[in-house]
Symmetry: C2
Subunit: 410 residues, 2 copies
């Protein structure tokens, strides 16, 4: 009989973690580099210590747990993230991070020693409180001082200020790249965040590819004036331009393609007094498509749309796009292995594409990478009602464990 | 020769006050019930003590300074506010508050005793960090516990929480009405906040009437979803409805009348993650017209527009209008008196209507009320470049002093 995870321990860990950053009204706000994030990391570090695992930190908050004295490489890595969106759920990221830890613990306590070591990783700021996929991008290519200095959060606060005095970081912020020679393979367990597995009654999704995406900020600059004494025609209202721009995004997504999405999730208005004409309106963008070409075309179209809206309202627009994260096909050999492991465990599986971005997207550019999906109730995610059953949590972790073991032993 | 204010002392006071709440990049952020507001009040209280004046507080932060031992009433009142909009200027409110203090001091030190006492008042939250004209409305009609509990600031923070432990308040929050029998008259000195006086080369504006206004909040309620896995057509995006609504406001103002203005100065989006479909979008409204009927018609039209935008995007809208502050004509006898006092001082004056709202609007419903305007450079206000020359500051204060003296002595 194949090795299984300790399901009770795994579920207890997930339940404990779900108490950290809990909102008074339900849901979790464990956004990156906040006190709740620090508390989750302290919890994770304590679990590592309890299991006799070492914990390696980089300067942007990535954490890698492993067995001491087994620093032979390349290693098999698995993991995900502990940060959440504001008012998010208890499974996105947390499942993959905690399951990877459980797998490393289980392999350590079950012996005999495998050919290759297995490591559990926690990536920082996957959800983009400051920069989407911050930690895994830092591992793949690193960031310059200038790039880091320009990253800001929803209140305009700077990442570098948040990192100053942050206890879960160590070393140089620009020296975070991981040598691919340290890696044999990477696997990530995650909730589907869509309805397909649940609707079809399938237990395991073998991810074929991850969507391409980008984002950025459009800033409209108008002129602040008194709301009572400035006639409508004498105004340069930044928010009116932003409103026209935001309203144009759904049409732009539909014109791009049936799988294209554009989201404006955050708006910041300055000065922000109810009796002041807005001087600045800043709009966040998130846009995705399975084709890199369509992501690139949307990036251009968004910039044109911002200029059009600005011109229509006598204000000035700046478009600061993020770099495009390429859509990536996942490793065919690993996909076959995951399907095999699921079948060995008596679990049904299908191939499925990921519409969400994941740290695996960056890892796939460093090493053979695959992802395992488990069902999401009603396909809901990034919300407090995000939910996956205990049975599916444990089944997903068992498939991950079997996959990691086979990768480490061949 | 007529009594004059101590111009040097007045300008020094204004300059000292302009250092409190100063933004690093210039301008003042002395929004109500913040530490900067508390600091300004402490500064004002110290000036009162220095001048031997008593200071009376109510539970919503209104402050009334007077001479001790002269509690005979009715009294002549003058004053304005110390709070500013975010990133505002150093004259709106501050000029009228400091000039009133200077007049009371000057009358006290110049003797002989006048027939009626003169008081200097500071109204709280004129700029509506929580509620536009909060302090003077509290004096005019008071607020219920329910009304106070519903007032929130730009971050959704509640007024009642801000007031808890606030040192510049005393007594019952629902018992703030001022008995009209305490008042003989009210006069407020203020910057014009428009270009008329400067363009015509006139020193003093005698305000004929104050515009009618209202405001409120529209809340659009959609559904939060994952920005990557939720197709465009499956979304209920609250911000898209808000964008359509905001974009409709200028047309609605133009349809109302040539003097109508509508401003959407503040937007709050939740959950606020860049990769989350917005669940809540809250938009602030400020709308004004010299006619009460047109203000009331705009209030209705805004509600209809919110419902239309919500219906177009499959979300729900709530419209929470504020009470309408009626346009008010100012007292004819006091207007004539101000014009007389200006002429005595050799200063040109014209009649002028106020497009901005002022605490005088509430005071006019309690007692004969008038306002004195001085020029605003380029008509700019609610911005860091807001400016009135030293000569105009002192001239306005001299007219105020002469006016208050005549009111107190007849």
């Amino acid at each position: 009989m194949s090795l299984r995870v300790d399901g009770k321990r795994l579920l207890r860990d997930l339940a404990e973690l779900a108490e950290i950053g809990r909102d008074p009204g339900g849901g979790l706000s464990r956004t990156s580099f906040t006190p709740a994030d620090a508390q989750a990391r302290a919890w994770y570090a304590a679990k590592c210590e309890e299991a006799g695992l070492t914990l390696e930190l980089d300067a942007l908050g990535n954490m890698v747990a492993g067995l001491p004295g087994r620093h032979d490489e390349p290693a098999v890595w698995s993991g995900s993230h502990l940060d959440t969106v504001p008012h998010g759920g208890a499974f996105d990221g947390a499942l993959g991070a905690v399951a990877a830890l459980e797998c490393v613990r289980r392999l350590a306590e079950s012996g005999p020693q495998l050919t290759r070591p297995v490591r559990a990783v926690v990536f920082s700021d996957e959800e983009g409180n400051y920069n989407h996929l911050l930690g895994s991008t830092a591992m793949r290519r690193g960031f310059s001082e200038e790039e880091l200095a320009a990253m800001t959060g929803r209140d305009g606060d700077r990442l570098v200020d948040a990192l100053d005095g942050w206890p879960w970081a160590r070393g140089s912020r620009t020296d975070t790249r991981v040598d691919p020679a340290r890696l044999h393979a990477f696997a990530e367990l995650h909730i589907e965040q869509g309805p397909t597995l649940e609707q079809q009654g399938i237990r395991i999704g073998v991810v074929t590819s991850i969507i391409g995406l980008s984002g950025g900020l459009v800033r409209f600059h108008g002129r602040a004036d008194h709301a009572g004494t400035t006639p409508m025609d004498a105004r340069s209202d930044a928010l009116l331009a932003a409103a026209q721009f935001i309203g144009a995004m759904p049409g732009l997504a539909r014109a791009s393609g049936p799988a294209s999405v554009i989201t404006t999730g955050r708006v910041r208005v300055q000065p922000g007094g109810t009796n002041q004409v807005p001087e600045l309106a800043e709009v966040s963008l998130d846009f995705r498509d399975p084709s890199r070409e369509r992501v690139a075309a949307m990036l251009e179209a968004i910039g044109r749309s911002a200029q059009e809206a600005a011109a229509a309202h006598g204000v000035r627009a700046e478009w600061h796009p993020d770099e495009i994260v390429d859509p990536v096909p996942l490793d065919e050999g690993m996909r076959a292995l995951i399907a095999d492991c699921a079948a060995d465990l008596g679990l049904s599986s299908i191939d499925i594409a990921s519409g969400a971005g994941h740290d695996s997207q960056n890892m796939a550019l460093l090493t053979p990478t695959a992802m395992i999906f488990v069902p999401s109730r009603d396909g809901r995610s990034h919300v407090p009602v995000e939910y996956t059953t205990d049975e599916d949590v444990v089944a997903g972790a068992d498939v991950l464990l079997a996959t990691l073991r086979r990768l480490a032993d061949t």
